[in-house]
């Protein structure tokens, strides 16, 4: 999920965007696959992709905006370099998930959807990771953590060089 890091000029970006759009144009209902691919490439749905997407799919800018804003996954502003997701749903609550989330947010000095000032970490709520039989659950980037507690989450964060203050 980490955005491609090398700085790119506008021409190169436009080229990648058009490749992604063309690569998915043959699909039935291609917009979501295109948006996923764009976000995987850039970490956000790049502004520069709006016009070519609208043109390729013959939709209006308002329609495109409507789709991007409907889904929790799609970002118009970049997230931190890493993302910590903490499950807020019922099975995790039954195993102390709410308190765990509160303590982690407090230690990180963040609210839900917040990003640390150094841009390293964004914390997001998630509603069920399918780990409800080994709750509570969390996720650091692609790495799932079951029976999550502060120690296990902090260990996963420190593997990404993210320290958690006491």
């Amino acid at each position: 999920m980490t955005p491609a890091s090398s700085p790119q000029d506008d021409g190169a970006i436009a080229e990648i965007i058009s490749q992604i759009i063309e690569g998915h144009a043959h699909l039935e209902g291609p917009l979501l696959p295109m948006l996923h691919a764009l976000q995987e490439e850039f970490g956000v749905i790049h502004e520069a992709a709006h016009a070519p997407l609208c043109k390729a799919l013959t939709i209006t800018r308002a329609e495109l905006k409507g789709v991007i804003s409907f889904y929790h996954d799609f970002r118009e502003k970049p997230a931190g370099k890493h993302v910590l997701k903490i499950c807020r749903a019922e099975a995790c609550q039954s195993m102390g998930g709410t308190a765990l989330a509160e303590r982690l947010l407090e230690k990180l000095g963040l609210d839900w959807h917040g990003t640390t000032p150094d841009g390293k970490l964004t914390v997001e709520p998630v509603y069920c990771l399918g780990l409800c039989a080994c709750a509570p659950a969390a996720m650091v980037d692609e790495k799932l953590i079951a029976r999550a507690d502060e120690v296990r989450v902090e260990k996963a964060l420190s593997a990404k060089n993210i320290g958690v203050s006491a």
Binding site: P30, L32, H36, Y71, A133
Partner: protein, 508 residues
Amino acid sequence: MKIYVPMDSAAKALGADEVAAKLTQEIAARGLEAEIVRNGTRGMIWLEPLVEIEKDGERLAYGPIAEEDVAALLDGQIETLGTVEDIPFFARQTRLTFERCGVIDPLSLDDYEAHGGLEGLKRAIGMSQDAIIDEVKTSGLRGRGGAGFPTGIKWDTVRLAHAPQKYIVCNADEGDSGTFADRMIMEGDPFTLIEGMAIAGLGCGATKGYVYTRSEYPDAVAVMRQAIEIARAAGVLGPNVLGCGRAFDMEVRVGAGAYVCGEETSLLNSLEGKRGVVRAKPPLPALEGFLGRPTVVNNVISLATVPVIFAKGAEHYANFGLGRSKGTMPIQIAGNVKFGGLFETAFGMPLGTLVNEVAGGTASGRPVKAVQVGGPLGAYLHTDQFDTPFGYEEFDGQKALIGHAGIVVFDDTADMLAMARFAMEFCAVESCGKCTPCRIGAVRGVETIDRIKEGDASAIPLLEDLCEVMTDGSLCALGGFTPYPVLSALRHFPEEFAPNTAQKEAAE
């Protein structure tokens, strides 16, 4: 020697990858003749990572195994649990849909066939469309996604619709808290789902299928995609399914973090690349579904149960169960339980047996207080309701629902007012925004419950009225069923909504 280490997400989240890596290292260091197989999970999540060692014709289980235990395991110093089939939680089950899950290598088509895979599809190929639909009707299979609609009738509607292109869409958006059966089968026995969709395609005259799953399930997406490629290369999918002259192919699509996209019409909009807003019915998706064409939308478990129905016969399947709830249900035992995991059993087992015996009570050792069945839109059941048999009509009679059959257990520390508030909050966050009772009602619901918490008893009838409006006036079950958890919490635990307790707790 074969060593099985699950690659199921839950096992991985408990360290299975690290165990597998360590095993590889130790096997090389010791010069052992051993093959590591990454299987699915057997569903006993409290024992994960559950490692099985097969040698001399015996397959023995060990677990939970940590990375640090690997050397001792290979030294024979860890006591076995016996065979998986001997573990009481497993021995008590009737595994039909999940028969192969955790037994085989999920990505080996040979292994799949050696364990009865493709028998159902081969039988279906020799049957007329009519006969295929009749078989599903006779099995009594009802939708496992929540609504419990008879699958055969849905298929028949699509079969009878005239259109040049029809679709089979698998709803793998499994967003309910407490559920993971769809994920487990996609990661542990993906060919079963592929086979079930191919049979659906033959029965309805649909040549194209989609599996719409969640972005929260990256492992399931990866396994499904690999399995589809393998099936295509082997001619199970493609222009000429197993040489029968008819076509069926499929692909995986990934959602983008919206619970409501599990609702079938919202899902279809999402698949088309639109906002996941719910569509009014009629028209039924069976007549005007994906891109306006006739479409079967079925849950993963509905479709993954089709192969065993065709392999063993509809009557065999229908002989299990209770009343109009026929066959088996993969019940997902979750939350505050000692033995969490997947328990497939014939319909009819009382809820209390599931919670107290199968799940072994709470993990915390404290008394059970409430059990939420059927996800965030399901009711909280009180221990007084524990003799309710697990079945569609039986739960309906308790103002509850079985939904996708997740059961989430809470101990006596649970704050039922907070759970009711969460149900409203969740509805507000996930509402698609199409209708007012849901979009605005859920926000008002949170505020009203906050007033109750602050000691305003007059807000209780307001909450009840609001729930009535949501139930009657919502277009789909997100707004329409949120009152289930809210009102069940209020009815079964009124003391937690009483002004003095609520106020006292607020003051603490």
